[in-house]
């Protein structure tokens, strides 16, 4: 059994140089929030990486730290109360946490863009969408008003908003939810970033519209060869678009795997529980499998493995030792590329 040291980024090769390395690499990131009730440890040593053209799905429930990690990457964390006591966020090999505010601003929006869940509150209600889209070009590229408007129409066309030229002067509330999410995507795309972080981009949308938006996102991603970090709690959406998955629980990555593997053979009891709790045809009329208990309070994360109070496989060691992210192997010992599980009993979980 290979144990990968805690500080190492699993399984992606470590690489600090500009070329060949991952587009974005998060190393041992910690985020805390200091509130009057105590310190909430939202992120406790997260490692992940994304390459150009790749989709990483970060799966987790509320409080798992998936959104906080994304906010830390974007540099839009509220500090205070937020604090990053340790960790590195490498964009093309450069640690963004050590950059000046000026340098970070140059990356934000231009190199890394973000799509939010709630498009209505992310858009300014008193400005036309054309103005807001054009603003990106006026501010970052110094285009004239007329050119910026033309660019805005082009963008709206690209995200398939019908009658773009006519609707460019409309205000956000005049668009439907799906169309607003398209405008958000257009805004994120405006400066052709290298990486897009999408935080629950379709959660607020209906299924038929959700399918349209996810398709559009996937299409644009391959067109521009962008990296995409998709943050979601929906196992279905993940299966549809992701290349690899990182499952988060209580601020840690508990399992990491290529998308096809994880659904077939989860190597962490939490992932396994999530997959089993999906209602299935052949289980109709029976009780659903339910993970017992509740997600932990981030102020009082259980000792040892944070999942131990809810885990069916928990032993004494789980209550005392924090499991590291183990390299997952086949029964015969050959490494499964890109797979890791932070469970003392990953072997039993995947092979048992």
């Amino acid at each position: 059994m290979t144990i990968i040291e805690e500080s190492a980024t699993v399984p992606a090769p470590r690489s600090g140089d500009d070329k060949g390395g991952p587009l974005l690499e998060v190393r041992d990131l910690h985020v805390e929030f200091h509130t009057r009730d105590g310190v909430a440890k939202a992120v406790n040593g997260v490692n992940y990486s994304v390459n150009a053209g790749e989709t990483l799905a970060v799966l987790g429930e509320s409080g798992s730290g998936k959104s906080v990690t994304a906010q830390a990457i974007m540099g839009i964390l509220d500090m205070p109360p937020g604090k990053i006591p340790q960790g590195e966020i490498l964009f093309r090999g450069q640690d963004m946490l050590k950059m000046s505010a000026e340098e970070r601003r140059a990356i934000r929006g231009r190199k890394i863009a973000m799509i939010f869940q709630d498009a209505l509150s992310a858009l300014n209600p008193v400005l036309s969408v054309g103005y807001q889209l054009g603003e990106m070009f006026r501010v970052h590229q110094g285009l004239s008003k007329k050119d910026a408007k033309a660019k805005a129409i082009e963008l709206m066309d690209r995200v398939k908003i019908p009658a773009a030229a006519a609707r460019v002067t409309d205000y956000p509330h005049q668009f439907s939810g799906g169309m607003r999410q398209r405008i958000m995507i257009a805004m994120a795309l405006a400066l052709e970033p290298d990486l897009i972080i999408a935080d629950e981009p379709t959660t607020a949308l209906d299924v038929t519209v959700q399918a349209q938006v996810m398709d559009l996102l996937a299409e644009l991603q391959s067109e521009f060869n962008m990296g995409l970090i998709l943050i979601t709690h929906d196992l279905g959406v993940v299966a549809d678009v992701a290349d690899k998955i990182a499952v988060m629980y209580a601020g840690r990555i508990v399992e990491q795997a290529p998308v096809h593997e994880i659904y077939k053979r989860p190597a962490h009891p939490y992932t396994k529980g999530l997959l089993e709790s999906i209602p299935r045809l052949d289980h109709k009329g029976q009780e659903l499998f339910a993970i017992k208990g509740l997600p932990p309070n981030l102020m009082k994360i259980p000792s040892g493995c944070a999942f131990n109070p809810r885990c069916t496989m928990a032993q004494d060691v789980c209550r005392t030792d924090v499991p590291v992210l183990h390299q997952v192997t086949e029964q015969d010992g050959t490494d499964l590329v890109g797979r890791g599980s932070a469970c003392h009993f990953w072997k039993e979980t995947i092979h048992g």
Binding site: S67, L294, M299
Partner: protein, 313 residues
């Protein structure tokens, strides 16, 4: 604060729902107890609360602080200024006015009129405005339109101008006529706040749930809407209280508030303004007390608003 964090703290870390775990010895917390915790740590609140308690004690028992009758006149001390040596808490500490009355005593006794006007007007407008706002917000429809238009009509009358007109209708004026005049004209602000607050709360699912259970109008209003809608009203009322004290002083200054025989800051400011150059202390001390009192109430209102608004935490 990120949403994830809120949820986590809301979780309060109960162990598995099904397992009967002994209840932790934590005290139940509510918005009010949370607010109280916040307030106790807020220096602005502590300072303003101490000031207000002091002012209320002065208003209730001015005799504790001086043995001098505020109406006792000794023309020999006409416009006698502030003494050059230390006379703290003595009769001549603040000097004397035109009739040789102790300004120190007058300032202490004048607190009563101001505080009574401030507190009573606030009570009247909160009850009146709260009631109108609650009924308009809850019942809606034509009833709301009617009450809202009525509110708008009163809102259009400037408080002081309206009070002057109302008070001129009385030949015999007292503290209570001032309370009446300000109360009748001041409730609109509270009614608007209450109506808006009720409209928001009315939409909440727990109000719908109570309706679905078959709860009557009275129960829904008193148990579900009022406790959840009252916070902004309390905040506005506390801030407004300072304004009413100032309004009383203004009316008295203009000579149509309290009768000149009543000891009040407004009356004293009014008589002091004519001699501002020869005997500035006559104007200064009542004005200073008025400013401090108004400021204390406004600061209190501010602190309460911050404490009751979880978003500002």
């Amino acid at each position: 604060m990120p949403e994830t964090l809120n949820k986590a703290s809301a979780g309060a870390a109960e162990s598995p729902a099904v397992a009967p775990v002994p209840v932790a010895a934590e005290k139940p917390r509510s918005l009010w107890s949370d607010a109280w915790r916040d307030l106790r740590r807020n220096p602005v609140f502590v300072i303003s609360a101490i000031l207000i308690v002091f002012l209320i004690v002065v208003a209730a028992f001015p005799g504790l602080f001086t043995s001098v009758d505020p109406d006792h006149a000794d023309l020999g001390k006409h416009y006698l200024g502030v003494p050059q040596y230390s006379h703290v808490f003595q009769e001549d500490w603040f000097g004397y006015d035109v009739q040789g009355r102790s300004i120190f005593a007058r300032v202490l006794f004048g607190a009563r009129a101001s505080i009574i006007v401030g507190v009573c007007v606030t009570l009247v407008v909160t009850i009146l405005g709260g009631l109108v706002g609650m009924l308009a917000g809850y019942f809606g429809g034509w009833f709301d339109s009617l009450l809202s238009r009525l509110t708008d009509v009163f809102f259009g009358i400037p408080l002081l101008l309206g009070a002057i007109v109302v008070l001129n209708a009385f030949t015999h004026r007292s503290v209570w006529t001032v309370v009446l005049a300000l109360g009748v004209l001041g409730w609109t602000q509270l009614a608007r706040v209450m109506r808006g607050s009720v409209l928001t709360v009315k939409q909440a699912d727990y109000v719908q749930a109570a309706k679905a259970l078959g709860a009557g109008t009275g129960r829904i209003m008193l148990r579900h809407i009022l406790p959840n809608a009252i916070a902004p009203v309390i905040v506005v009322a506390t801030i407004a209280l300072g304004g009413y004290i100032a309004a009383e002083a203004t009316l008295s200054f203009l000579g149509i508030g309290l009768p000149p025989s009543t000891v009040s800051w407004g009356n004293d400011i009014s008589s002091g303004q004519t001699v501002i150059r020869t005997a500035p202390h006559v104007l200064f001390f009542p004005s200073a007390m008025l400013s401090i009192t108004v400021l204390a109430f406004i600061m209190l209102g501010d602190a309460v608003r911050d404490a009751l608004d979880p978003k500002l935490r």
